[in-house]
Every structure is written in C-alpha cells, then in structure tokens.
Subunit: 309 residues, 4 copies
C-alpha cells in the first residue's frame, strides 16, 4: 500500500496503442520493464499523459490489470472522474487488482478554498481506506490550491498520503509545506511532475522525488541518484544534458506525441500512436527531436552515461 | 430516428435518486409518464441536468434502457465524454436499446473555430450513422461557437440533425442560422434550452421548440401550443405566469436542486435527492420557492389553467 | 462620505455618448436628474455598465466632475484598474471632486482565498482613508469570493463599507453574511446588482437595497418601497410587471445596448450609442423590446403606476 | 517607422523602480544603453513584463519619452488597453514622441475567430496609419489565434507589420505562416517571445528574430548571430549554456522578479523592485539563481564568451 514514505521515481506511464488505435498490450509489457530497468521505484498509470480520458471503462481496468501483473514496483492508478461513482468504481477495481493507491485531480470548476477542501473530503469519504495522491496541476486543471488548503486536506484526510506537485511556479509551495511538516503538520510524500523541468530545485526544496514522465525516463533516476549521493554538481551536469529535450517535450498538447515518438525510437513501445484527438508530429518536429536527441547522447557520453536502447 | 424535422418539446429529464444516492427506477417511470402527459414530444436523458457525470457506465446504460422501455416518444441520450471511445460505446449501446439519437457537447478546452469544427468532424466519424444533436451551451462548456462554425459542421456532417441552442445571448444566432437555411444551407432542427428563459423570443426567431427542463414542465408545451396556434398574447400571458419560477430556477448550480424539489413537491419523483457533489436547499430557499409556486398557481388559474399534481 | 449605513437604490449610471462616440454631457445631466427623480438614493458611475474601460483617463475624471456637480445624492465612482497607481489616482481625483466613495472589482487572475484577501488589503492600503465598495461579480470577473473571504476583508479593512453583491447564485451568501454580522462581525451595507433579477429575495435575505442599473430605473425604488412598507405582495406584483424586461436586459454583452435603447426611448438620454466594441441591436431585438415595453406599461397601469416619460 | 522587414532582437524592456515604487529614470537610461550594447536592434517598452498595467497614464508617457530620447534603435510601445480610447491616446502620444510603432494584445474575453478579427480590424481603424505589432500570447491572454486568423488580419490591415509570437506550442504556427507567405500572402516580420525558450527552433521555422526579455539579454543576439552566420552547432552550444536560467526565469508570475534580480546583480538597474502586486524572491530562490548564474558563467567561458558586467 502506498504510504507517506514513498520516494524516488514514480514514472508516469504512457498508454501504448496499435496504429489502428487499439490497446497494444505487448508494448505495455515492454514499457513496464523498461521503466523499471531505468530506475522507476513505482509506476503511475491512467494519468493525463496516459490518455486516460480516451479509454472506455473496460479498457481502463484491462490496462490496470496488465500493468500490475507485470510490475515488480507499486502501481498508482489515476481515477479522476467527473463523478464520484465512476471514480470509486475504478478505484475499487484497481485496488482489488493489486494497485498500491490511486491519484485524484480536482475537477476544473472548483475555485474557492472551501470548494477544494470539500471536494477532497468527499473524495476521501467515497474512497474509504484507499490511499490517494492529491494531484496539484493548475496549468491543466485551472484549479489553484494554496499550501494552507493542502495542509487542511492532509489534516482532514488520513488517506491522503502524497502530493503530486506540478504547480508552476511551485518551488515556494514545497518550501511552505516542508516548513509546516517540520512544525508538526503530518508529513506526506511530495513527488514532482512537470516533466522534471525543475527537478533539482524541487529536491533542494524538500521533495521526495519525481512523479513524471519523459521520453528518456532514466533521467529522473540518474539525477535523483546523484543528488541523493550528495554530488549536486554531477546531478546538474546530468540534468543539463537532458534539458534541451525536457524543454522540447514541455510543449503543451504536443508533449505526449514527442514522448511517444522518442519512446518508440528507442524501442520501448512499438508505435508512437495517439488516440484522437491527438497531435501528430510534423516532419519539422521530428527533425528537431532527432537533432536534440543526438546532441543529448553525445553529452551523456561525455558524462560516462550510456543510452539504454 | 431523430431527424431535422424534430420539433415541440424535448424535455431534459432529471435522474431520480433514492435518499441513499441509488437510482430510483420507480420514480424514473413516473417521471417519464409525467413529462409525456405534460406535453413532451421527446425526452433527452443523461444531459448535464441529468447528473450524467455522476453515474457509473453501467448505471448510465441502465437508465437509458429503463427510460426507452417506458417512453412512447423519441429519446435522445447525452453521450458527451472526455474521449471518443467512451462516447461511441454509450452511443452504440443506446441506439441498440432504441434511442432516437444522441447529444454531444464540446469539451471545455476547445477555443478556435478550427478546433471546434475538427472536434465535431471526429464526433461524426466515430458515431457513424447515428444522428446527433450539437449542444451549444457556452456558459457551461466555455466553448463559444460562431454561427459560421455551426453551418460548417452542418455542411460537413449529414448526421448532425439538431442544434440544442443555449448560447446566451443567443437570439441573433437563431436568426443568423435561419437566414442561412433560407439561403440554401441545410436546415436542421433548433430546440432551445436555458430553462426556457427566452422561449418566446426564440420561437419568434425561428426555433422549432424547446429542449430544456423545468420543475413545471408543462410550461414549455403550453407556451409553444399557444404560440403555434397564433395567439402570441396568450403565449406571453402563460409564460409570464411561470417566469418568476423560471428565473428562480435559473440560478447556476442551485437550479437542479430547485427543479428536483418542485418535481418532488408535485409527486413526479419521490425524493429531491442529488448525488454529491450537489447543492442542498436551505430553509430560506424552500420558503422562497413555495411562495413563488403559490403565486404561480393563482396566476395560472386566472388564465384557466390547472395544475397537474 | 459613504458608510456602512447606505441603503436604498444606488443606480448604476450609463455613460451617454453622441452618435460620433464623444461624451454627451447634456444627456449626462438629464440622466442624473431622471435617476434621482425615479428614486435613486445614490449613483454609481464608471462601473462596467458605464463603459468605464472605454474612456481615456481625462474623460473619466470629466464624467466624475460633471455628475457630482449635478447630483444631490452621494456618488460612488468605479476605480477598478489593472494597477494600483491608476486606481489610486482616479480615486483621489474623485474624492477631491466630491465623491462619496469608490468601488473596486478584483482583477480576473485572482483564484485562491489568500490572493483575494491580499488584493483587497493592498487596495485598502493604497486608498488610505477613502471608503470603498467591494464588487463581487464572478460572472464578469471570474473571481469567486467565499463569505469567509468577504468577512476577512471586512475585518482587516475598516474602509470597506459596502458589498456590491452580484454573485449568482448569491442568496445564500447574503444569509451567511447577515448571520455573521448578527453574531458580531462588523456589519456593512449590502446592495445588490445583477439587474435586479433577484431583488425581492435579496431583500428578504437581508440586503439593504440595490446597486444596479435598468432601463426603467424606477423599478428598484418602487419594489423596495413596497417591500419596506411591509406590502410584500404588492412588491411582488410590481416586480413581476417589470420582470420580462429585466430578463430581456439580462442578456450578457447585449444588456447595455438594450438599456441605452430604452433610456433613449424614454428621453432620458439623447442617443443609444455605445462606444466600440459594443453590441448593436437588430431590428428583431428592437421589435421584441418594444413589445415587452408595451405590455409592461399596461401591467403597471393595472397596478396604478404611471410611466415617467 | 516599424515595418515588415524588422529583424534581430527587440528586447522587451523592464521598467525600473526605486525601492519606494517611484520610477527610476537613471536606471532606465543605463538599461537602455545595456540592452543596445548587448545586441538589441530595437526595444519594446510597456509590455506585460514592463509592468505597464501598474503605471498611471502620465507615468507611461514619461517612460516612453525617456526611453526614446535615449535610444539609438527603434522603440515599440505596448498600448494594449481595455478600451480603444486609451489605446489610441497612448499610441498617438508615443508616435509623436518618436516611437517606431505600437504593440497590441487582444483582451481576454475574445473567443471566436470572428471576434478576434473584428477586434484587430477595429484596432487598425482606431490607430490610423500607425504600424502595429500583433501580440499572440495565449498563456497570458487566454485568447487562441489560429494561423488563418492571423493571415486574415494581415490581409485586412496593412498597418499590421509584425507578429510577436509567443503561442506555446507555437512552432507549427510559424511554419504555417511562412508557407502562406511563400504562397503569396503578405509577409510580415515574426519576432518570438516566451523568454527565448524555443528560440533556435523558431529561427529554423522562419522567424526573423526575438522580441523577448531575459536577465542576460545578450543571449538572444549571441544565439541569433551564430545562427545567422550558419554555425548552428555553436548557436546550440550558446543557447544550452543559458538554458538553465532561461528555464528558471520561465516561471510565470515569478519570472519578472528573477529577471530584475539578475539585471540588478549585473548593475544594469539599481534595484530589483517590482510594483505591487509583485512577487518577492525568497532566500531559497536567490540561492538557486546565484548557483545557476555561476554555472552559466563558466559554461560561457568555455565557449570563449565573457560576461558584460
């Protein structure tokens, strides 16, 4: 079961499709293996970058079961939904299948502090004893959550064990939360998103790791390992080598197509297919990605790091 | 099968729940009968005011089957969904169960004309030969659709047979669309929403009727019948009698609780229960509704119209 | 000076223009006189419906001076601005010219409770001892303000003397604020907006009156006078007579054009001109307005009430 | 006068303040000199990052006159405003003072293609023969502008001579616009914003340069010069050296505080002061910036490039 001590890298998993849009279960297995080989201490599936909204209910639970049966590391399942009935149903099915916990993002119509707190109190009540991750991603949800609101949810809901942090800017929020837990508030795990764009600063502020995806998912573990080993300078060198691609993948809407392209390029998944509606990469984009990837490989070699594919 | 000649009143149906939040199928039957008795020429279920987002996939199809088996009038099913897979699945199950057509609102992230057109082209492609209603409700979806965009969708998608019009202000849009069909564009049915707040003006502009809900659902048929009979003054008198309640029910977020309260008050459904998250009525609100309802009954009596309950 | 005891009707004033878009100072005088003749106990100028954003800085202060020199009732000046420097400058100039106070709406980017509170703390600090009205109008500003946030602002800022209430739905908010002041929180004036659509219910909940505009501005005083005299039934009769027009004018974006048309029709202002960008009324709209106005006049006559023009 | 041949680097200028919030004209002079020394071929003042909204009307024109009197390169003035009257007044005053042109961002309430086109048609009409830059920055304005809409504005408005491109993702938009001008549409200048985050890819797609700010403003000229000289690899090396800071400065809301801090650190301006409401940097942020700046300096030295300060 997921708990507040979770740390390291929970890789946000893509959902592989065949060219005709059907689920690609062979790639799913290969991808799970690759994420773990490249340092994942956990996996998070059916998140926004997992195209969760594009799956039927039956497909969602099929993906959950397949990933959990393959994975040696804990699996968190995104269960955000317009209503609590569908959320609870998927959460229970996922836990029955062996999930470690679930992740919930707030619906986009929430505005005031009181509305957000009430929503997560309801969430906790519907989920019962299932541990959950609060996903704080204003750029995607339009919901802005103050540190004091997060602390209130943590106080009211013992099953809230982790914050998926991807507010932007969000560094001061980590500092505020860590100061609060230093002062006696219940400490939960903070894993950071946003494609890793501010990963090192987030670790410096007190995060426990990353919960994000990236076309070269070994990046997060390599950076965190160097950081944890106390070699901040090497952590920066490694991060800087990947940064041009991190930045390129950060393009909203286009990012998932870029990530699936690079995963397919490395053989992690068979096809870069997105379900509709999904961005297609132009020839210009592919050429830009290839150029960035080639430079990235050279810079990693200079650091003594080899590619996985 | 729903087609472009649809007119009259397609009542937006509530979804009745028992006090514990379970579906109330007995009330569902009674409600279907009441809507038809009060003049519905069609029913629309699983719309926003049908709490569609709060149902599990299995519950949705159960509601669809129950309503269709009870109804003597055509049933349209709301199938709006974050993804095309879930939309298509529900649409096909609904048509197999005997639905007349489906209704689709655009997802809230669409902005440009090109994005909106592409979305409905995809919708039409996924739905195949299933006739669909384009729901144009910017206050709820944040998506603003120009008349020229609607005309392009109508031109590109022969299966788009109806506009559920609830732009606000939206009267000029009806005029623009009717001018275009007078000038040769394919004419589709326009049924209007927004709780009937502008129903008479909408009919004057060329609408074919209403697709909306209201706690006293005979209002729409009574107004449209008088209008169609050429007695505009009586149509205004009837509308004005209901207007204080139309206005009271127009409060966003609170409107459905008001509607369910008045439906329960008249015995149409057994309980005013909303699923969470849903507004509860205060004692003050209930007192205001009761006062408005009492005056409404007196004004209708002055017009020779009796209550149904 | 505006204080927390303000009540009655603060009419939201239009800004009259000549057909070429220049300020029409003659109409401004006539309009001020008409508002007061029809029951205004105060005036509010340079609000959203006063096209404040379309004026140059010099024009704004010219309007302020002209209205104040003509008015026998207190004048509140809208000073909402992207920045505190411009807000403070206009506020000081207005107070020097004899204004009773100013009104401030929050900028649209505020989301969390803490952001909103900080904004109004800054506002109070910049305005010094100038009394201000907090404008709470989420439909226009996108900023949702909880009752607890309003109470915190009232507690922190002694110069906040009034709430211009136009949340929608907002009746429970009035009740919550009045309960809080009954329980010891500082009581401020609450005047309600939204074109008067819920005026009677607002008075029943504890509002002190209206701060809104309408093409037939005597409506607010007539309704409030009957209410204050204890004749709730007559207040409802009067309100119901105006309601079809209140509803028609409630169309966002179009409402001001409708209001200026009816004001011009009654001779209150010379021209219905809006500055660009501003909606123009179609022939269909004008015909609808004229029909509603004719019925309104007959219903008022039935109540023994004569038109002003 | 600004025309469609503009290229290179139009630096987005900060507005320096004294610690008490007053304008710092000495720093303004020094900053203008520094921008030009570091490669600016033009300056853009009173943009969003110039805190334009926080200035009074009189202060705005004072800044315009001071900058123009000091600058040897063309100056573009941001004149975005809620209304055309204020926009036109500032535009005319600026041109009278010697500005090369003005920049206009659309107001945040525009949604449909037709609304956006009408807005810029009105803009062009009000501005007369003043050349203007269309600012396309959806992250800040919420207005999404299709390539076809830009092309229509360019076609309708001969005085639209430049696009300030900061859509995100926006690379395909540049490609689409350049294909259109290759095919005969009038070609305008495209200068790119977003802090330079995608500068090289933007140049590869056909941009004419950058119109953006950055705490180390020589970056843009150094990258573009290497690119223009045909040494793409060196352009990438230079860009990569600055990228960690570009990324750090990209934090919305916080970016300007970071930029002013680094400008002050280099002596370009005397104080990092922002007017309220403005973010303050924490000790943690300052420490992060200093660490990134130190590494940046070393990497630039490796490339043979010296700091300016």
């Amino acid at each position: 079961m997921l708990d507040k001590k979770a740390k390291g890298v929970f890789t946000i998993a893509a959902t592989p499709f065949l060219p005709d849009g059907a689920l690609d279960f062979d790639s799913l297995d290969r991808m799970v293996d690759a994420y773990i080989e490249r340092g994942a201490t956990g996996l998070t599936i059916l998140g926004m970058m997992g195209e969760a909204g594009k799956l039927e209910a039956d497909e969602s639970i099929a993906v959950v079961r397949k990933v959990i049966s393959r994975s040696r590391v804990p699996v968190v399942v995104g269960v955000s939904s317009p209503g609590f009935a569908a959320m609870t149903a998927l959460a229970k099915q996922s836990m029955d299948a062996g999930a470690a916990g679930v992740m919930v993002a707030p619906p986009g119509n929430l505005r005031t502090d009181a509305q957000i707190i009430a929503y997560f109190q309801n969430t906790a009540e519907f989920l019962g004893d299932i541990p959950f991750v609060l996903q704080d991603f204003p750029l995607a949800t339009s919901v802005q959550i103050s540190p004091s609101v997060i602390l209130k949810i943590v106080e009211d809901c013992p099953t809230c064990v982790m914050l998926k942090h991807e507010d932007w800017p969000g560094l001061e929020k980590i500092t505020a939360l860590r100061r609060a837990s230093d002062a006696g508030s219940r400490r939960i795990s903070i894993l950071c998103g946003n494609g890793g764009m501010y990963l090192l600063e987030e670790m410096l502020r007190g995060a426990d790791g990353a919960m994000t995806g990236f076309g070269y998912p070994e990046m997060m573990a390599r950076v965190i390992d160097a950081f944890t080993a106390g070699d901040l300078n090497r952590a920066r060198d490694i991060f800087d080598a990947y940064m041009p691609m991190v930045r390129y993948e950060a393009q909203p809407g286009l990012g998932l197509a870029i990530r699936k392209y690079t995963l397919a390029k490395q053989g992690v998944i068979a096809h870069p297919t997105l379900r509709k509606p999904g961005a297609a990469l132009s020839a210009e984009s592919i050429s830009e990605i290839d150029a960035i990837a080639a430079r990235q490989e050279r810079r990693l070699e200079d650091l003594g790091l080899k590619p996985f594919s």
